[in-house]
């Protein structure tokens, strides 16, 4: 029998919620470890190995010391998967990119002398693929547990994971929700990548765009939806600050 792929999980600047989503698979983790070997996962295990095939990386990159660690991980891994919004696109960590690092540091640490202290040596937030090449992306804030399972299963089987390229509206309609625009909210569903089962609108809350923007945004049907509520494409793009600061479109679809 072929050897099980060895998987390691790593985290950088984030809330560790996506890793927690893995733990939240509950007994289904046991299914997962029947076809992969988890050899490093600091949040839940003491054992660690530098010999792995697949690295799952969560979080954004903030400092030179983090870049160095990430390059080390990349050099060990055959396949690197970016996990969650912070890793795939910078996520909420990029909100601060509208200011220079020196400015936020001063804002937060006052006049403290932090020169030469590498712990505080931050640059503007980077997503994982701004530092090293990424092979696969698992989107969301947090990630969807079912999607995680299906992506890992596909990769372990040597197949290409199936990630939606259509907008959240498709899943939202399938759930028979009343449109958030109809309820007076401003929703990013029309231009955000689906795959979350439209979870936010389904709980009566507008989409915040945590899975990134789809490639074809400026389409007639998006304009039509917006026109109905007297909004422009520029209006919806201006709302994309929580997760998509500084991003034009999602560059992952070939």
């Amino acid at each position: 029998m072929k050897q099980k792929p060895r998987v390691a999980v790593f985290d950088f600047a984030d809330c560790e919620g996506c890793e927690l989503q893995i733990a939240n698979l509950e007994e289904e983790i046991l299914d997962l470890i029947s076809f992969v070997d988890i050899v490093s996962f600091r949040e839940v295990m003491k054992e660690h190995s530098d010999s792995y095939d697949i690295a799952i990386v969560e979080g954004s990159i903030m400092r030179p010391m983090d870049e160095e660690r990430l390059r080390g991980i990349r050099s060990h891994a055959k396949i690197l998967i970016a996990l969650g919004a912070c890793a795939t696109m910078g996520g909420v960590n990029k909100i601060r990119n509208q200011w220079m690092p020196e400015e936020v540091k001063k804002d937060v640490y006052g006049d403290a002398n932090l020169k030469g202290n590498e712990l505080f040596d931050v640059f503007q937030t980077k997503a994982i693929n701004e530092v090293v090449p990424v092979d696969y992306y698992i989107f969301g804030c947090p990630i969807d547990r079912d999607e995680f399972k299906s992506v890992i299963t596909a990769i372990a089987l040597g197949k290409k994971p199936d990630i939606p390229r259509y907008p959240v509206c498709v899943e939202c309609k399938k759930n028979e929700n009343i449109c958030q625009f109809e309820l007076g909210a401003f929703c990013l569903g029309p231009i955000t990548r689906a795959g979350c089962k439209a979870i936010c609108p389904t709980h009566n809350s507008p989409c915040e765009g945590c899975r990134g923007l789809i490639k074809k945004q400026d389409t007639e049907c998006v304009k039509e939806v917006l026109e109905r509520y007297k909004l422009s494409y520029e209006d919806i793009r201006r709302r994309c600050t929580m997760y998509n600061y500084g991003r034009k479109e999602c560059s992952y679809d070939e």
């Binding site: 984030d14 560790e16 733990a23 939240n24 202290n117 809350s205």
Partner: protein
């Protein structure tokens, strides 16, 4: 005994976030002993500036995956305080259920997945699956229940959706609540069975004590989690909640990207043990029984017993949730609209107890409802100094043990606090010492 050795734990495992333990011993003398937080700072308070009041809750939820419900509630309470919003009775009950669900989820994760491997002498929960299948399945079942309860009340267990300014975007149905009630009742028996298992290995918890101060919320009407006033085991109640800085004095140390805090002494502790030490008489009877099993009494000065206090609280949360659900069912659950805010300039402070201790969000909003200043005080920050001082008392007491045992005991000490390090790395209004 003269000996030279070092314990350098880089990125301690089975805790949330990145921390290091450094111990250098020369000729039997401690040359260096440090608890270091090396997590990358995230600047949340800076990111909140300029955000509209509705955005503060979803953004601050992302401070922490484990206590996202707690951050959400502290955030909503701060915003509602600034706008003088009075939430409905139903919202107050549902929010209490939300906090119980999170407390249960976080506590069982810590007890079962992060601490239990030490008590059974293994590196993670995975080797226990084969050897202690029954116990692992109990833990998994309780963890699943807590998560599904969060899903039901909040829409999602990590980064809740339904919690919004003024109330809920959607509430559970009567049928869903009845179903939850039945499952919670079953879970109480499972919890007692799990307590028996933990009791059988509890001798692995070190018998270390160091007198310190304990700080948490307290309330006349209940074991305080969602609401209450700040209280200390040294100085009693501090009712002026907006003046929380009189109690929580934060400062910075160079070896840590997280702030430290002190009050009456050089350090204090927050979290389950602090709450137990302050409010144990208000625990429900089943939780009292669990405490009795472990001879846990106030004031307990052994930080390793924090895990046991979590188990006690887990049982309390089940019992209290059952009562809360009953009162919701009695009054009838309604899909009520959130209270509409009257936007105005002002400052608001929200304080809640989250799994790891007392959490403060403090916002200043302008007349259009945009945030101009924010401060978040995280439980784990308040524990860092206490961890350091515990280590300084603990290491000389165990210096004759093997290096491996010393390393494990130090790791267990950090784990006992259940630190949430990614949470703890952001600051504002820094006072340097």
């Amino acid at each position: 005994m003269s000996k030279d050795f070092s314990v350098h734990v880089e990125h301690i495992t089975r805790v949330e976030g990145h921390g290091n333990i450094v111990l250098d011993v020369k000729n039997g003398k401690i040359e260096k002993l440090q608890w270091n937080v090396v997590e990358a700072p995230r600047f949340f308070e800076a990111m909140l500036r300029g955000q509209q009041y509705n955005e503060l809750r979803p953004i601050t939820s992302r401070i922490c995956g484990i206590c996202s419900i707690g951050h959400s509630l502290a955030s909503l309470k701060a915003t509602e305080d600034a706008f003088d919003i009075k939430i409905t009775k139903q919202t107050a009950i549902l929010r209490r259920l939300a906090i119980h669900a999170e407390n249960m989820q976080s506590h069982i994760l810590h007890i079962g997945y992060l601490v239990a491997p030490d008590l059974f002498g293994v590196g993670s929960v995975f080797p226990l699956v084969g050897k202690h299948t029954d116990t692992v399945m109990k833990i998994v079942k309780l963890h699943r229940l807590a998560n599904e309860m969060s899903d039901l009340i909040c829409g999602r267990t990590i980064h809740p959706i339904r919690l919004i300014v003024g109330g809920f975007s959607l509430v559970p149905t009567e049928r869903q609540l009845l179903h939850l009630k039945n499952r919670l009742a079953e879970a109480q028996d499972l919890t007692k069975e799990l307590a028996v298992v933990i009791q059988s290995v509890a001798d692995k918890l070190p018998t270390f004590t160091r007198e310190t101060e304990y700080i948490g919320l307290t309330s006349d009407s209940e074991y305080a989690l969602y609401d209450g006033v700040i209280a200390s085991t040294d100085t009693g109640k501090h009712p002026a909640y907006r003046d929380y800085k009189e109690v929580i004095n934060e400062y910075i140390v160079p070896q840590s990207t997280a702030k430290y805090a002190k009050h009456a002494r050089e350090s204090y502790m927050v979290g389950a043990l602090a709450r137990f030490n302050l409010n144990s008489t208000q625990l429900h009877p089943v939780a009292q029984e669990v405490a009795h099993m472990f001879r846990l009494k106030p004031l307990t000065y052994n930080p390793f017993m924090n895990t046991i206090a979590q188990l006690v609280e887990f049982s309390h949360s089940i019992e209290d949730s059952l009562l809360l659900i009953n009162s919701l069912l009695d009054q009838g659950i309604k899909q009520e609209k959130p209270v509409k805010p009257v936007v105005k300039a002002g400052r608001g402070v929200g304080i809640v107890e989250v799994p790891r201790g007392i959490l403060v969000h403090d916002y200043t909003l302008n007349s259009k409802g945009y945030c101009t200043k924010a401060n978040c005080i995280i439980p784990t920050n308040q524990n860092h100094a206490n961890i350091q001082l515990d280590m300084e008392k603990l290491v000389p007491e165990i210096l004759t043990k093997s290096q491996k045992e010393i390393e494990l005991t130090l790791e267990m000490l950090v784990r006992a606090y259940d630190p949430c390090i990614s949470c703890s790395t952001h600051y504002l209004d820094v006072i340097f010492v």
